[in-house]
Symmetry: C2
């Protein structure tokens, strides 16, 4: 009995940590999306005003979409786990295993897609900062300095969100794989 | 006794799968590095010949380094596991756990760094293919077509390697987390 209580306690401790990490990830992801989405700077360039926004570069547009979807996904996951904590349905182990596999795969996908989009945007931004003389690609950040600094802040937030999401995906891997015995490949432990 | 034999069999089945996946990853990574590293095309551009190599773009240079290091790391891991299979040292569970944690963390780092470098190069290559009119960045792949196709092949190989490495990192997560009980947080199962 004592063991069961301890097990339940541990389960809720883990679930709380996971929910806290997911909520932090949502906040940072929303911050990233806002920093990129609301970034704009208008400059007078040879005879006309030119406004720089995130729509100028496909990578920035993609980053806003990816980050928003990742934030929505993590919010759904928090909602799902708080719902299941409220109703405490007596799920069978089988259902739990399928759910754990789905959570694991979705979490992995979320972190890889976010990280990939972030890295792509980082490369594009780096080219905008340094230019590429060989290719006759001019520097842009010497003109739109404030715009570029804000994008830099957004990318830092994006990488922070990736680190938090990588932690969360490790937790979901932990939740999945500890259900298996160490003795036989992909054989479940007896429920206890 | 029968269970122990089965357990040993399973362990070697897993280890073989892991070694096979790691060797495939090494091959694909080496192929990627070669495709990028030996890619060059010379074109006559306004009064002089201009040779395009991977050194023209920092992202390509970084990709070659990252991919080579990842291939070396995976080769070391294969060597380590085949050595430990030869000598079969009677490691204690504690040592195994530390090794499993190190493998897990290193594998995660390897796959994220490779994936990040690949995505960054993909973005830079996309800019070289499409150009960016707003920024007055000209297209380059209309000139160096063969060069760009080879880079495209290299990036496809790079992503394939990332998928294989993600599988390997899932296996190392499995090897680590199944050592823990499902009942208490981060408490090891009793050795059995």
């Amino acid at each position: 009995m004592n063991q069961i209580v301890q097990s339940e306690k541990m389960k809720y401790g883990m679930a709380e940590t996971e929910a806290f990490l997911r909520l932090s990830a949502v906040l940072i992801l929303v911050l990233t999306a806002c920093l990129v989405g609301f970034d704009s700077q208008t400059k007078y360039v040879v005879f006309f005003y030119r406004k720089a926004t995130f729509r100028d570069l496909n990578a920035l547009l993609l980053l806003v979409y990816v980050v928003s979807v990742a934030a929505g996904y993590n919010l759904l996951q928090v909602g799902k786990s708080s719902l299941s904590a409220c109703f405490k349905p007596n799920l069978k182990v089988r259902t739990n295993i399928y759910l754990a596999w789905i959570c694991f795969l979705l979490d992995q996908m979320a972190v890889y897609v976010t990280f990939g989009a972030n890295s792509a945007t980082f490369q594009a931004s780096l080219l905008a900062v340094t230019g590429q003389e060989d290719f006759q690609w001019i520097k842009l950040c010497s003109k739109y300095t404030r715009f570029c600094f804000q994008i830099g802040g957004a990318l830092t937030c994006g990488y922070a969100a990736c680190i938090v999401m990588a932690f969360v995906s490790s937790i979901s891997a932990f939740n999945l794989f500890r259900l298996y015995t160490p003795k036989q490949f992909l054989q479940l432990k007896t429920a206890g």
